[in-house]
Structure formats: structure tokens, C-alpha cells
């Protein structure tokens, strides 16, 4: 029996020779092997349950949006680097390899299937990610056993403000605000929800349970902006392709006797279209509007 308290259940993502232990607030791991009962005429009951698909698993977790990492030249957490790398993957024939995920002693090679991030006024930003584990060749989707794993001590200084976490107080998304003309009106932005979903095509061959390779196929991303201006002129064609950068920032750091803001973590959104707008009200609140923009890769 392994009794593992949460402080020994670190979530670690390794991408090539670089890794990050994420500040996860929850994590769940599922592992399943599909079985199908077979029946035959003349036989009462089933002949047995037989595998109907390869064993596969998934891991999903939420984590505080850490922004001070630097992986392969991308600023921010390793999940953001991974997501950016995959969705812009157009040069290597779309063949992709998984990244190593470790959670409380259990590890496997997973493919990022979804990534999301939320930011709201005066709140700490939270992100989420999901991975699918297909296994590979003779390699099982997961290996290891539940065991306590110590987290790495990043900073020995105790009692300090966290400057490496994205926060709504310090995140400026005015570049997403709806601007209307005649009469001019510019929205206040109250919050944003970003999500990215990625699709893969694992290639299985006869005589082998797990795929020989895995192809990245496509990705869609969307950002829902909560603000206070409703644009009734939703265009049929979504306007021309546009690029925008979603930048989330954290608390200022003190350096050279001054407060400085570290550069925020960026998510580049290419060729986006505005696909919907809405407005809603509840008791004791203002009418808030939402617009959704999407991009596809």
C-alpha cells in the first residue's frame, strides 16, 4: 500500500532534455483497455471478453499559470511551449512524439490534446492540460507505480510574493477589446478564457498493440473575451485574417530598487475570426458581453 499525500504527488513534464514541475492543483490519470463480449448462436452466455482496441490512457491536470520559464526560446511554462510548437508544426511531416509526464511515480509518453488558460480581474490565472497516452511499439502507455515523489525546491527564500504566476491584476488584454466607431466606444475587458484542442492520428499495424507512430493532424483554438460592449455588426465572413498575441503577466519584481514587470507569457493566435457575440445579465450585476474568436491550424 502506498499512502501518498498531495505534497509528494508532483506533476512533471519533460520535453526533450528540459523539464518543469508544474504547480498543479489537481491531476487525474486514467488507464483503460476496451473489452467486448462475444456471443455465438448455440451458446448460452458469452464466449468471453476480448480486446476491441489498444490499451490507452489519459492524464489531465489544472495548474497555476507559471510564466517565468524559458523552454527552447519560448517564454512561459512548458505546456505553453509544447502547445505552441505542436500547433505550428508544419515542417516535419506532422509526425510527432509524445512528451514524458510523471505523476506520483507513474509516468508515460503522452500527446497534448487540450490546453486552456483563464484570466479574470484580480484573480490568479489557472491553466489546464490533457494528454492522451497511446503507448508505442512494445512500450505501455504507463509504467511505474504509485509512490511519493518530492518536488524540487526552486527558491530557498521563504515568505515572498509569487512573481512568476500570471495574475488578472497585471494582465493587459486591451488588444482584445471591442472598439466601435461612430459614436466611438471601447470596451473594458473583464476576463478571458483561452482553449486549444489538438488532434492526432496514431498509426497501428497488424501484429502490434501499440502504434508505430503518431501523426499530428490539426488544431483549433478559441478565446472568449468578457467585456462590456456588444458588437451587433458580427461580420458574415469574420473579417480578414488577423493575428493577435495574448499576453499574461504576473506581479512586479523588485530590482535595482524599482518595481519591474517581467515580460509576460505570450500565446500567438494567427488568422483569427470573430465567430460569435453574446450578452447576458444576472441580478446585481451589469450586462456583460462575450465574444469568441477562433483560429485553426
Amino acid at each position: 500500500m502506498a499512502t501518498v499525500f498531495y505534497d509528494k504527488a508532483v506533476v512533471e513534464v519533460r520535453l526533450g532534455d528540459q523539464k518543469e514541475q508544474l504547480l498543479a492543483s489537481d491531476c487525474s490519470l486514467n488507464y483503460a483497455g476496451a473489452r467486448q463480449p462475444l456471443y455465438a448462436i448455440g451458446t448460452k452466455g458469452s464466449l468471453g471478453q476480448f480486446p476491441s482496441a489498444a490499451r490507452a490512457g489519459d492524464v489531465s491536470f489544472s495548474f497555476l499559470t507559471s510564466i517565468t520559464g524559458n523552454f527552447f526560446g519560448y517564454k512561459g511554462n512548458i505546456i505553453n511551449t509544447l502547445a505552441s510548437g505542436i500547433k505550428n508544426n508544419v515542417t516535419n511531416g506532422s509526425e510527432t512524439s509524445g512528451v514524458e509526464i510523471k505523476f506520483a511515480g507513474v509516468s508515460g509518453s503522452g500527446f497534448l490534446t487540450s490546453y486552456g488558460l483563464g484570466v479574470a480581474a484580480n484573480s490568479i490565472s489557472s491553466s489546464n492540460a490533457s494528454f492522451t497516452f497511446f503507448g508505442s511499439g512494445d512500450q505501455l502507455p504507463f509504467s511505474g507505480r504509485l509512490a511519493p515523489v518530492d518536488g524540487m525546491v526552486i527558491d530557498e527564500v521563504e515568505g515572498k510574493l509569487s512573481t512568476g504566476i500570471a495574475h488578472g491584476r497585471y494582465t493587459n488584454l486591451d488588444n482584445f477589446a471591442t472598439v466601435l466607431g461612430t459614436p466611438t466606444d471601447t470596451a473594458n475587458v473583464f476576463g478571458a478564457e483561452y482553449s486549444l484542442s489538438l488532434n492526432y492520428n496514431p498509426i497501428y499495424k497488424v501484429g502490434q498493440e501499440f502504434p508505430t507512430t503518431c501523426l499530428y493532424t490539426n488544431a483549433q483554438e478559441s478565446v472568449t473575451i468578457t467585456e462590456d460592449v456588444f458588437n451587433s455588426g458580427l461580420p458574415f465572413d469574420g473579417l480578414a485574417n488577423q493575428d493577435v498575441i495574448l499576453t499574461v503577466s504576473g506581479l512586479p519584481v523588485e530590482a535595482f530598487g524599482e518595481e519591474l514587470h517581467l515580460p509576460g507569457m505570450e500565446i500567438g493566435i494567427s488568422g483569427y475570426k470573430v465567430v460569435s457575440t453574446s450578452m447576458s445579465a444576472g441580478l446585481d450585476d451589469i450586462v456583460r458581453t462575450q465574444k469568441a474568436i477562433t483560429a485553426a491550424y
Binding site: Y6, D7, K8, A9, V10, V11, Q21, L22, L23, A24, S25, D26, C27, F61, F63, L64, V119, A120, A121, N122, S123, I124, V149, D150, G151, M152, V153, I154, D155, E158, G159, K160, L161, S162, I165, H167, G168, R169, Y170, T171, N172, L173, D174, N188, V189, F190, G191, A192, L251, D284, D285, I286
Partner: protein
């Protein structure tokens, strides 16, 4: 050397108006910094979670009011004027130190009086702007520009217009006004973009009576005994007919009655009237 600060070295100024007759002041904030927790946690770091606000409570005797020239659209009670959508800033002086605050919005206002008492007001306010030490205002704004006049109302010179008081003796009353506030926060800001004066305003008026022939009503919603009352309480300057303050509310619903009797007291009734004002 240890020292102490007594009441003579304390004062409060709101919107450059000196508040007089103060019985007590309390103000406080609670940090919204919370420790970050995570799976595999190895260290404690803090980050603000939620909007940072402070609060201010003020109790004053109604001994000083604005001059008659401020009548009309203003209440002569300085604090009652903040039950609307006007924010306030101010300074609390204690000894040589000061506490500054800005963007204060009143959330509750109460006035009460009993036999043998000077009417007293109590207010609670939320501070959405700045709070603390330092220089938040110009030197010019730190001194009170207006000192209210001495005008003392008393229990003996007030008027209350409820029918029960012809045969039943009112011993005390209170008026409680709750003014909701809705701060609207945006990204990249720690102060609200605006503070909306919420609606409705809830008004509760409580009376205590030493009774003679007062009849308790049926607590079921019997139409003929469901009571709606117009209530007006007028405070006048002591030993005069000069009206200082008038609290007037229409169509208040009788929402509670309580009866009490004891071996060493008169039979007494407390009742509450409530109404809601849309704004």
C-alpha cells in the same frame, strides 16, 4: 518612552468636512494575499486572490449639522449624503499620524434615539480606493474646509407620525438604510473601473413602545391585517421648532412584532417596518 493617544488628538475629515460628535471610529483591512498551494508543494509563496478593500465604521452623535444653506437636495447630516452614489475620501488623524483613504462608498447608515438620548448615527463604508499612510491628497485637501454648525436635536423635540403613539408611548426608534454597492473590476487594475450604486435600497425602521392598547397583528397574511404604513420621523433642534432632519418613507410593510413583559418593567412592544426603494 511609551505614550498614548487620547480622543483630543483624534479627528476625522471626510471630503474636507470635519466630522464632529464622533463617538467611535474603526477602520481595517484584511490582506487578500493567500498562499499558493500545489501538488508536490515545496515552498510557500503568496499572491493576491480577490480585490483588496478596506472598511470604515463611524459612530457619531447628531450634534452638528450643515448650515441651513445646504438644505434642499442635501441632507444636513453630512454622512447621510453618502447614501447615494457620491464617493468620499478622507483622513483620520491620530496624534501626529494619519490614515488616508479614498473611493469610500457608504453601505449602511443608521440613526437611532431613545428617551434621554441625543440621536446617534452609525455608518459602515467600503473603501475601494487607497488606504494607509503616505500622502494621497494635497496639503490643501488635508485640512477641513467646512466645519458643521452646532445643532443638537433631542428626543424631546422630535416628531413621529404613527397613529399608535397617541395612546402608546414610544421609548426608542432606529432607522437602518442599506445601500448596496457593485464594484466593477477590469483586467490590469486593482481599483474598480466604477462602483455602481446598487438597487433596491433596504430601509428598516424599528420602534419600541411601552404599550397601553396596542394590538398585535395576525402573523398570517390576512389582507385586512397586513399593514403598510407611511413613516416620517422629524428631528428638530433642541427646544425649538427648527427642523434639522426628516426621515420619510412610504408604504412600509410591518414585518415583525415582539411583545415582552417582566416583573420589573412595563409591557413593551418592538415592531419593525421595512421598505425597499428603487433608484
Amino acid at each position: 518612552m511609551l505614550g498614548r493617544i487620547r480622543r483630543e488628538a483624534e479627528k476625522i475629515t471626510i471630503n474636507r468636512t470635519g466630522i464632529l460628535g464622533v463617538q467611535s471610529i474603526s477602520t481595517q483591512y484584511e490582506s487578500v494575499a493567500r498562499p499558493l498551494d500545489s501538488l508536490g508543494i515545496t515552498e510557500i509563496q503568496y499572491a493576491p486572490q480577490g480585490a483588496q478593500t478596506a472598511s470604515l465604521q463611524l459612530n457619531t452623535l447628531l450634534t452638528n449639522t450643515l448650515g441651513a444653506g445646504y438644505g434642499g437636495s442635501y441632507s444636513l447630516d453630512v454622512m447621510q449624503n453618502f447614501t447615494g452614489d457620491i464617493p468620499f475620501s478622507g483622513i483620520i488623524d491620530y496624534g501626529t499620524e494619519k490614515i488616508y483613504f479614498s473611493q469610500g462608498y457608504m453601505e449602511t447608515y443608521s440613526v437611532s434615539c431613545g428617551i434621554g438620548e441625543i440621536p446617534q448615527t452609525s455608518t459602515t463604508s467600503a473603501i475601494y480606493g487607497d488606504f494607509g499612510t503616505g500622502v494621497l491628497f494635497s496639503e490643501y485637501a488635508q485640512d477641513p474646509g467646512l466645519i458643521p454648525s452646532l445643532n443638537i436635536p433631542s428626543y424631546s423635540s422630535m416628531e413621529v407620525n404613527l397613529d399608535e403613539f397617541t395612546t402608546n408611548r414610544m421609548t426608542s426608534f432606529s432607522v437602518d438604510i442599506a445601500t448596496p454597492r457593485v464594484p466593477i473590476y477590469t483586467l490590469n487594475a486593482d481599483k474598480p473601473d466604477k462602483v455602481i450604486a446598487g438597487t433596491p435600497i433596504e430601509v428598516n425602521v424599528n420602534f419600541s413602545l411601552d404599550i397601553d392598547d396596542y394590538e398585535i397583528k395576525n402573523m398570517r397574511f390576512v389582507p385586512e391585517q397586513t399593514v403598510f404604513r407611511d413613516t416620517t420621523i422629524t428631528l428638530k433642534k433642541n427646544n425649538s421648532d427648527v427642523e434639522l432632519l426628516r426621515y420619510s418613507f412610504d408604504n412600509m410593510l410591518l414585518t415583525s412584532e415582539s411583545f415582552r413583559a417582566g416583573v420589573d418593567s412595563n409591557a413593551a412592544i418592538n415592531f419593525n417596518l421595512r421598505s425597499f426603494i428603487l433608484r
